[in-house]
């Protein structure tokens, strides 16, 4: 959906704004893989787990980005999401970052994310994510950044099965604001279609999801005009 998850809910929001897992009622887990630009060997793999409890919903998200055996960026985060009333949802995430480059060195760091979502009416959500507000960073042995990131987003459910989203993202060190929009259309309970556009760094997104009982298979692609297509696949199961 155009990489616009700041104001969306569900297991996948562990990748965008953990406040979105707050309404999960049964444990759920998923795995995903994304190839960055076909035939480049650069990929991201990861898994997601969410477990509801009396205190709130706990989430776990681990991902590894890199080129097999050469370069790896590992990020593992534990989230705790809690609702305050029926309108306000919050989440705190503690992340562990590890970067390692074969025959070069590695570095570790911890960061914190704060997520908020607010339900304006039954169909309308807004969200904020502040990632790494403490400016956590790797030491000087590697040249890599843990971005300080501010995301604002909104999602609006127009009708049953039709949702529109928009996100604005500001990554501090890049001096660049990206605006993205997305749309999800579910003509039936089993299938959904998604699409979106990123504007500042023009990118197109499209994908579809198949839902069978408690299993969801989701296939999507990010299309960059010069760099090409990045396919991704997500499989989740709700227990």
């Amino acid at each position: 959906m155009g990489n616009t998850g700041t104001a969306l809910q569900g297991l996948e929001s562990l990748t965008s704004n953990a406040a979105g897992i707050v309404n999960i009622t049964t444990p759920a887990a998923g795995v995903y893989y994304q190839e960055h630009f076909l035939n480049t060997d650069i990929g991201t793999k990861g898994f997601l787990v969410a477990v509801p409890s009396k205190l709130g919903v706990f989430g776990l998200h681990a991902s590894n980005y890199g080129i097999g055996g050469t370069y790896s960026e590992l990020k593992a985060g534990v989230s705790y999401a809690k609702a305050f009333g029926h309108h306000l949802y919050t989440a705190l995430t503690v992340n562990y970052h590890q970067i390692s480059v074969t025959n070069y060195g590695d570095s570790k760091a911890y960061s914190l994310d704060v997520g908020l979502q607010y339900r304006i009416d039954p169909n309308w959500l807004i969200g904020v994510l502040l990632a790494n507000p403490g400016y956590a960073a790797y030491d000087y042995s590697v040249y890599a950044v843990i971005p300080v990131q501010l995301r604002l987003g909104t999602s609006y459910q127009l009708h049953d099965g039709l949702t529109l989203t928009a996100d604005v993202e500001r990554i501090l060190y890049r001096q660049k604001t990206d605006v993205r929009t997305g749309l999800e259309y579910k003509p039936s309970a089993f299938v959904s279609f998604r699409g979106g556009i990123g504007f500042n760094e023009f990118t197109q997104f499209c994908g579809f999801g198949l839902l069978y009982k408690k299993m969801l298979l989701d296939i999507a692609a990010v299309i960059h005009p010069r760099l090409g297509v990045s396919p991704q696949l997500l499989l989740t199961y709700a227990f």
């Binding site: 127009l158 009708h159 039709l162 749309l183 259309y185 699409g195 556009i197 504007f199 023009f202 197109q204 299309i223 005009p225 010069r226």
Partner: protein
Amino acid sequence: MFLSIGSSVRAQTNDMLIEQLVESMADELPEDFDYTELVEKWNYYLRHPIDLNKTEGKELGELQLLSPLQIAAIIDHRKVAGNYQMVYELQAVNGLHLELVRLLLPFVKVTETSDLKGMEISDYLTEGKHDLMIRYGRILEKQRGYTITDPTRSRYLGSADRLFIRYRYVIPQNLQLSINMKKDAGEQFFRGAQRYGFDFYSGSIYLQKQKNWEHIVLGDYNLQFGQGLAIWTGMRFGKGALVQHVARQGIGLRPYTSSNEFSFFRGVAATYLFRKMAITPFISYKKLSATFQDSVNGRGTFSSIIESGLHRTPNELNNRHNLGQLILGTNMQYQTKSLTWGANIYHTTLGGMIIPRPLLYNQHTFAGRKLTNSSVYYNYTLHNVYFYGELAHSLGSGIAYNSGLITSLSHDLSIVLQYRNYQKNYHAFYNQAISEGSNAFNEKGFYTGLIFQPSKQLLWVVYADYFNFPWFKYRVDAPSDGQDLFSQLTFTPNKESKLLMRYRFRNKAENGDLTSHIATVEEVKRQQIRLEFQFKLNKSMGWRNRAEFVQYRKASVKEKGYLFYQDVIYKPMKGAFSGNIRLAFFHTDSYNARIYAFENDVLYASSFPFYSDKGFRYYTNVRYKVSRGLDLWCRYACSYYPSLDGLGSGLDTIEGKHKSEIKLQMRLQF
């Protein structure tokens, strides 16, 4: 209550529609863009409205106002809810918003009238209606091209007067005779190369519904099939606020009634109906104007075909009608309620060789004197999805295809997607498919459009188009790409007022301006913001304000411009006089930051000029209904540039600060 229809609606319809359509176009239209064809069609359907209980949709498509899904919805409504009892029932049709219904009303009816059938020969001469129109126009200031007398220099040989005569004889549903004659400014009249009077003559006899012959045209005609990749002449629309125009609805064979001097065929064509199959064979021969290079073995070689139709200077006259073009071909189309598919094949032979100038961007353009084109196309409606596309091949060279869909995801949200891929060596003389470039070749693109109508008052249209050009283009010495983003919000709180906001961003490549040893290609970014407010003071008076801002950026060059105007429109329900005036103020840093705006004009004429530099512009437009069947129009327009001493360039240069133009027009109907 809100849809009271009166004579004023009818009178206003054309202007409103043209304005709406032209302004909805996102691209700057070429100055000679001619929508006569469409205005004529509208006028025809105003006089002979489409019967909602009879139409199968074709006629509705010709209006260019509806998307294929909307047309299907109108017909479906009839099938579900029974025959229409009144036209206002259109409000109940899914996917038609109020504004659209209002525009549509004058063109439709539900009463049944008997068709003219079983006519005697003598009826053909007495049953019809005559329509004669004469238009005169000229720029009042002296332009340089008219003052030069030295025969060795380039100059305009004729006078600055423009003259256009148009005659129609119409028997509805049956026969139409059309004649057009045109003299452009600077062309001679009954002298020199134009010794037979006008520079351009066009005419046709059109017979409709003769047994199995659906259309027969003798003379000048248009062919519009599929998505326009292989064959499409006459008017077409591109990207714009009317997102549905991305899916072309080819109307097949029709007489040619416009005054553009290139985009039509001349000869004989006919459509024969056999059950669900329609076959349209055609033959055409006409003389084109082309840039003559040399003569080899008695046969000329030419570097390019000139489409402007201007024959004013000795040089233009040397190339006038110097290249014969013979076209032979046929179309076959099979049509059911939800599926249409068709195929085209045609062969073009030229009287001489085309050898493009040896420049890199010309490397893949057409060279030779023979070309065979073929294409297959389809459209298919499945539930709430309309699929369409065309695949075309120029034999011996490239292919081009596009494919897309329009779907209404809910009653208030529709989406359009289209992919296009036109190879750099695809050739077709009459190709006018959707493209960012001027013709559909050397281009790939993906278009996404969204129409959101949350309430009857609010309409939001957005599209994003990404395109890339795999090969060099004119003034772009490298493969390049770009984007076109568009967003428009229209708020119609009531019948009297309308508020419009538009934002558009475009990014395209162009050769760098720096003259260094390394040639570079730079990004050119254009941003446009438009605010417009329309208000009807009472039944006969209305006004309209617009503010528009433009920003242009290329490398380190940053330029801006703005335009403000105020229109007053006077259109009484009754009374002989009607008219409108505009006062505009504009200031742009350069030609790059120029701003285009639609201007009201005399009937069937079009004005879509750009405003650049710093100055004022005003015009008045008056229509006088002398009596039933006799109308007069007069238009006066003037631009004033206080800080300039010379206007225009080349032969069009005017010494002074003013450029003014007058138009007079008369129409006689009997």
